[in-house]
Symmetry: C2
Subunit: 228 residues, 2 copies
């Protein structure tokens, strides 16, 4: 990982230094941001009654913060103190994973997966400032389809009141990346088994327009832009 | 959810009955199994020092059990008691999510995601029986590419010794599913914004054969079968 061109780094901690395959870990902010910005579904972990809970949810990154949202009635949002009262924050782990391909080795043991993941350890805090809430909600929509928030009806008072927004600061963060091909043992290279990588398909299929759209409604540029 | 044809169900518990959108929840074993069998990457949650940890990892379902594996040196495997000593088990949450599409509504508030997820609450126990370990490791390979374990070199003694296997029984389990189109408010239907669903692409791109393969090596049927 020696690199004169290395950019700004997150400080490694006991939780973010892996016990194995440390060469796959990165604390580079640009690397972490790129992984976070490519996805929009994370797995949010929190603790409830001494047991872990992991739920999929949408996120957006704005600078060194992640924003998540949910119904004010949902368990993690209530636990994060997002609804009323004092706000101690909730310990969370937010994990984002891109699965890029299956690595098929000649040996069962060396089968692997190409992936890029980011693990964020932190505390979820409610966002109460109306301006920050608006900004975060726009970011959540725009993170999935850039420019979309300006091309839809903004939330009204009732909808805003029903929506909890939490933020998690990016301080204790690491990425883990596996790329490339097959790592078989030298003595296995002549085995007759097919070996290689099956890359996973990415992106969108053709859009399915809502039946209620006016005849002749064309796909707007902010949508065609994500379909490439 | 009334259905005369309803199959066997998991018993709902306080943890598996959602606080919102209960119409999206299912406890049907066939529904749960189908979601689990379509994927092979889960997000494993566990608790470490009162804080949650969420890591992506491979899984396989065999009947009413999930199997996960890892290096004997990895944190979750050690915490699950997979390496030596007494074995109390480790509380875990295993979540599998398929993201099927983005739902773009005329209103920002009604933007949504089509998804199918399964959340398993349970305890990870180490697997020590040699036969069950072999079976589980084959299942982990075959879950990604059916038939692959028979088409690769089985793990040798050293590799087996380096691999921890844990199982999680499927008892406290639920699925959550969002399908279909846009749910806009009636008063928003005449707004000029494009609305509809962007389905996500699934499956594999063309395989990348390992450079060391003998000239003329063809793709075997167990691989072409997953490329459709």
């Amino acid at each position: 990982m020696e690199n004169a061109m290395q950019g700004e780094q997150y400080a490694p901690t006991g939780r973010t230094v892996p016990t194995r395959a440390p060469q796959r870990a990165s604390y580079d902010k640009d690397v972490v941001h790129a992984i976070l910005d490519e996805g929009w579904v994370c797995h949010l972990g929190f603790v409830r009654g001494n047991a872990p809970v992991v739920l999929p949810t949408i996120y957006a990154r704005v600078g060194e913060r992640l924003y998540l949202h949910g119904s004010t009635g949902s368990r993690p949002m209530r636990a994060a103190g997002a609804v009323g009262g004092e706000e101690p924050g909730m310990p969370v782990c937010v994990t984002v994973t891109h699965v890029d391909g299956v690595v098929l080795a000649r040996s069962a043991f060396h089968h692997s997966v190409n992936y890029r993941s980011v693990v964020v350890h932190g505390t979820a805090h409610q966002v109460t400032d109306p301006q920050e809430r608006r900004m975060a909600l726009d970011a959540l929509v725009d993170h999935v389809v850039p420019g979309r928030s300006a091309q839809s009806r903004p939330a009204n008072k009732k909808e805003l009141a029903a929506t909890a927004v939490v933020r998690v600061d990016l301080t204790e963060v690491s990425a883990k990346i596996r790329t490339g091909g097959v790592n078989d043992e030298p003595e296995d290279l002549d085995l007759p088994h097919w070996a290689g990588v099956l890359p996973l398909r990415k992106g969108y299929e053709a859009p399915l327009p809502d039946e209620g759209l006016a005849d002749g409604t064309e796909l707007p540029p902010h949508i065609t832009a994500v379909l490439t």
